[in-house]
């Protein structure tokens, strides 16, 4: 029985991982459209060529690589991590000030002006999507916007526009049908599941894959819409705010102060040290 509460006519991403070649055009297109900073990385973080190490305030989407040996054969698989744009988003339901809005078009968008920085959204999201700008003095929550500004204008999201193969963007009902059509047409190619059709009460990002979802690192998620659990989250509000949230804020402030002081020091000492370097190559 479907428990999806997704809005009729909303737009969705169908991500067919059997068609993803791991080129990461999506990852770069996202950074370009959203003008996100590149992260400083070293070598690779995770299997295959995976980078950066985690989703963050600078990385709204990422290709996770799996590179392993199974039944005498190589598995080299790619999975796109991004906001699932839930039909009934937990982030929105726990936000005490309504900074998250589930739009009729599908994207779950965030209003920075309303945000009070409580970060309940980060705790509530079962997919671990919202990220906090720990590097900023006045931090905001950052996550994939579903390219709402593009979608509103009739464009496709940046990642979907760039992807040559795996991402289809369109009305959710049609994409569910398309996904099911693919399962029927190529039963040997896919795990028989349209992920996101019912997960978390239905999401506007749906996946097809040839590998078991847990092998790709998908977390098991309830099929019930998440706000059903919200009262439990809200019950914990004061404690969380004072302990987890408050503690993290303090840490961030201290870290920041250290970085700021270091930057100031470096700036003050920069010109003479550069000259010395040039004289002694």
């Amino acid at each position: 029985m479907s428990t999806s509460t997704a809005k009729a006519g909303s737009m969705a991403f169908l991500i067919d991982m059997t068609k993803c070649t791991g080129c990461r055009g999506c990852q770069v297109a996202c950074k370009q459209w959203n003008q996100l900073e590149a992260e400083t990385t070293q070598f690779f973080s995770g299997e295959g060529y995976q980078n950066p190490p985690a989703m963050s305030e600078h990385t709204y989407t990422r290709i996770k690589f799996r590179d392993y040996w199974k039944n005498g054969q190589n598995e080299f698989a790619f999975y796109k991590e991004m906001c699932m744009h839930c039909a009934e988003p937990a982030c929105a339901s726990v936000c005490p000030v309504g900074a998250f809005i589930k739009t009729d078009l599908g994207p779950v968008v965030y209003d920075a002006d309303r945000c009070i920085g409580c970060r309940f959204c980060m705790i509530a999201c079962p997919f671990g999507v919202p990220k906090y700008e720990w590097s900023k003095a006045l931090p905001l929550v950052k996550k994939c916007t579903g390219c709402y500004e593009r979608v509103k204008e009739g464009l496709k999201p940046a990642c979907a526009t760039t992807c040559p193969t795996a991402i289809t963007y369109g009305p959710r009902e049609e994409l569910i049908k398309e996904a099911e059509k693919r399962l029927t047409a190529h039963p040997d190619r896919y795990i028989r599941k349209v992920y996101g059709k019912e997960e978390a009460g239905g999401t506007n990002v749906i996946y097809l894959t040839s590998l078991p979802f847990d092998e790709l690192g998908f977390k098991p998620v309830t099929l019930r819409p998440l706000p059903g659990y919200t009262w439990q989250a809200l019950r914990l509000v004061p404690a969380v705010f004072l302990t987890v949230g408050g503690g993290l804020s303090a840490l961030s402030w201290i870290n920041h102060r250290r970085e700021r002081l270091k930057a100031e020091e470096e700036e003050a000492g920069q010109s003479p040290s550069t000259e010395t370097k040039e004289e002694n190559p």
Binding site: R24, G25, Q27, A38, F43, N51, D67, N74
Partner: protein
């Protein structure tokens, strides 16, 4: 490409060999997956399990440099099991032609070999002639001197067991690939081959490509939708740069560069224009005099007259090999005063890169024109070098990128597509055309004041603008060609200055000029055909004849006369590229390879019109190293040649600085990743791409890592006879040791994008590679050399 990108979707089997389309041609996967959705099988043959392999139905590992053994075994399977497309092979290839009695082959050597010069006397590599001058034939293919029987004998030695012993492929994987691919000998099935530098960058690279072409001819896969052999070009416009003669041995449109011995135009034309006495052979290159004369008219305009051989004397003649390797050798011996690098970064991209960097110091001056500061442009401050010791004066000219200028690009599928300028170039950056225009205008001024042989420069026809940004339309119009005087052709009068409609109208009497006969038709009286954006698809095969323009004469699939039987009926009517309409007596579909009726009709022609005898060449004297591809080991190999006593390609001289297998036991092979591009200047300076692949790394197998005590992410040193580099080790099951001749052989995979400059710095893989090249093209053998690997960086 014989076909084009969109056409890959029509294949029943796709063989990606010597290429890695998922990583290096990601957009092509759109069409590969479309084919797979329709039931096609994708085969990935690669030393490493790549992102392409991850999408493939079948993966077969092969040792770098063993393509001919791999394909030779497939040819053997086809011939032993009679899986050829018989009508195609008999009618359209030279399988039935009889070969000279003196021709032979023994122990890896063809008849006519001279070990002293590493070359062949090809006197016996020829057909037996019938009385009328055409080749003697045996359509039953039974004659022992027929190409078919010689071919069968040659490849009978390539048994699956022998092949797998050489290639290291698991025999069950190999047989699965063979069976799947060779199922396309049926007329209604087609296989395509997608290849790239993994194929060509070998001392027998041209023969690797030839082996693919022969396989496709035997299965009747050339000319068909979903067939062909398709070179995946490594840059958006590399097809265009080849068409316009970036290589030293060709002039625009693949006309041959004259040799020193071609003393005048008539001698040149006599020597290079192929002849055929078969009235059914179109022998298209017989038009060479028209194309050459029109080219000379384009270059020297009114100064080019019949009396002075159209200024043929002004052309530089070649008297040797001026390929990249040879130029770099000369550089290292102080043979050049100056060097102009346009969008090239030889000390990252060239073989034995440290030696090239060393050689640059002998230059008096060097110009680099690029989007970024390349390693080559700062070679004088490379690590370990005292800038004071280098006297070379270096100029770095900031260049405009492709979106900052207008003009055409020709993609792998030969589509010339017009692009517009999207944004102004930043700062003082200028287009390459502007730089060349300025250089030429100023040189002309200097030569007017005198100099040695000033006429070629002073008389050069050069009018592309007013000294500001040159007009790309003027260039494109000249490339297409114009009438230099009023001419009447087939009853139509063409006025002086009018654009030539197509190359069939080019003349050898000076009445036409054309900067590139292949592009004649791209910019006609109707306008710029390359700028067209029509989306009509009359054949339903996504050829889009009104989208841009495709050489030659907008033909989307070349050799398409081979896609039909002798009477013009498509082998596969469901995917008919062309078809002969009997009633109307004309072709329908794609632009056919010439207007003549199909082969069996009166005035019909053989399908392979660019070959003098009109037939696909299963045997050819054209190459330097043999009429049939034969397996040799790479110049550096961990094993002996198991196919014959001849270890390496006999037509390639042994280079200096050879890695010895005792000291350097592992196979090194270079490649690219999706995230970086070529020598890296364009990508290693972009933070978003640097984030994805920040460091030079090498891929090694788990057993090799265990043996050497290397953990994933450890710094390692890789060395060869040319030098050593450090990199981080990526330990993966995607690279596995190969069982070769009963012994396990390990490989080290190296991306070649890195250098000491830019944002993401790293050692260059090409410090390790050998400056030895293919017998025919001199392309360096980047893909198979010997190296060693040890834990720890160079300083460790």
């Amino acid at each position: 490409m014989t076909n084009h990108w969109n056409d890959i979707q029509h294949a029943d089997v796709i063989l990606a060999i010597g290429s890695n389309p998922a990583e290096n041609h990601p957009i092509s996967f759109k069409y590969i997956e479309k084919a797979m959705d329709n039931g096609a099988k994708l085969i990935s043959v690669d030393p490493r399990f790549t992102r392409t392999s991850s999408k493939a139905d079948l993966y077969a590992q092969l040792r770098p440099g063993t393509d001919i053994a791999f394909i030779g075994g497939m040819i053997n399977h086809i011939l032993q099991n009679d899986l050829i497309h018989r009508d195609y092979v008999v009618d359209y290839t030279n399988a039935s032609f009889l070969i000279d009695e003196k021709f032979g082959f023994d122990e890896g050597i063809f008849t006519g070999y001279d070990a002293a010069t590493f070359s062949y006397d090809k006197g016996s590599w020829k057909y037996q002639s019938a009385a009328d001058g055409t080749p003697r034939r045996d359509p039953s293919l039974k004659h022992p001197r027929s190409v078919y029987q010689l071919l069968k004998k040659h490849y009978a030695r390539y048994t699956p067991e022998k092949v797998c012993e050489i290639t290291g492929t698991a025999i069950q994987d190999y047989m699965e690939v063979v069976r799947t691919f060779c199922s396309t000998g049926r007329p209604d099935r087609a296989a395509t081959i997608m290849y790239a530098m993994g194929t060509t960058q070998h001392t027998y690279g041209t023969q690797n490509v030839r082996s693919y072409a022969m396989l496709q001819l035997l299965l009747g896969n050339i000319g068909l939708a979903g067939g062909g052999i398709n070179a995946l070009r490594g840059e958006s416009n590399v097809q265009g740069s080849t068409d316009y003669a970036i290589l030293y041995h060709i002039l625009p449109g693949y006309l041959k560069v004259p040799d020193a011995g071609h003393v005048d135009l008539s001698t040149y034309l006599e020597k290079v224009t192929p002849k055929s006495s078969d009235p059914k052979s179109a022998n298209w290159w017989s038009n060479t005099p028209k194309y050459m004369t029109s080219l000379l008219k384009a270059w020297w305009g009114e100064h080019a007259t019949a009396e002075n051989g159209y200024c043929y004397d002004y052309l530089a003649k070649k008297s040797g090999n001026y390929s990249f390797i040879k130029l770099m050798e000369r550089l290292q011996t102080g043979g050049f005063e100056g060097l102009y690098c346009m969008g090239t970064n030889p000390i990252v991209g060239g073989p034995d890169a440290s030696a090239i960097a060393e050689g640059l110091g002998s230059l008096k001056w060097m110009i680099c024109a690029d989007l970024w500061e390349t390693e080559t442009s700062i070679f004088w401050k490379r690590p370990g070098v005292d800038p004071k010791s280098i006297q070379t004066e270096v100029f770095l000219l900031p260049a405009a990128s492709s979106v900052e200028k207008e003009g055409s690009i020709s993609n792998s599928g030969r589509w010339a597509q017009w692009r517009y300028k999207a944004v102004e170039p930043p700062g003082e950056a200028k287009s390459d055309a502007w730089m060349v225009d300025q250089l030429c205008l100023r040189l002309k001024e200097l030569y007017k004041k005198g100099g040695v042989f000033p006429e070629p420069m002073v008389h050069l026809s050069w009018d592309y603008g007013d000294g500001h940004e040159p007009d790309p339309h003027k260039v494109a119009r000249e490339c297409n060609g114009t009438f230099t005087r009023d001419v009447e052709i087939k009853g139509t009068l063409y006025k002086k200055g009018e654009q030539v409609p197509s190359f069939a109208f080019l003349q050898d009497d000076g009445s036409t000029l054309s900067g590139n006969w292949l592009y004649c038709g791209s910019y006609t009286q109707k306008g710029n055909m390359m700028a067209r954006r029509g989306k009509d698809d009359p054949t339903g095969l996504e050829m889009y004849p009104e989208w841009a323009w495709c050489w030659p004469v907008n033909r989307r699939i070349i050799y398409n006369r081979a896609s039909v039987d002798r009477n013009g009926r498509p082998w596969n009517p469901k995917k008919a590229v062309i078809a002969w309409n009997e009633a109307a007596s004309k072709w329908e579909g794609d632009v056919p390879d010439g207007p003549w009726p199909p082969q069996a009709k009166k005035d019909g022609r053989h399908p392979f019109i660019m070959i003098a005898d009109g037939h696909g060449a299963l045997f050819t004297p054209a190459l330097a190293d043999g009429p049939f591809p034969e397996h040799y080991e790479p110049m550096e190999s961990p094993t002996h040649n198991m196919m014959s006593g001849q270890q390496c390609n006999p037509a390639v001289a042994t280079p200096g600085k050879l890695s010895n297998p005792a000291k350097f036991p592992y196979i090194g092979t270079t490649y690219r990743v999706s995230e970086h591009w070529q020598a890296g200047a364009m990508t290693r300076n972009l933070p978003w791409l640097v984030e994805l692949v920040p460091d030079m790394f090498v891929e090694i197998s788990e057993p090799l890592a265990a043996w050497k005590g290397i953990a994933n992410g450890d710094m390692v040193t890789v060395s060869s006879e040319r030098g050593s580099i450090e990199a981080k080790a990526l330990v993966t099951t995607r690279i596995r040791p190969l069982r070769v001749g009963g012994q396990m052989v390990e490989q080290v995979g190296l991306p070649w994008h890195f250098g000491f400059g830019g944002l993401a710095k790293g050692d260059s893989a090409n410090v390790l590679t050998s400056a030895v090249g293919c017998a025919n093209t001199t392309i360096p053998e980047y893909k198979a050399f010997l190296c060693n690997i040890e834990k720890g960086g160079k300083s460790a």
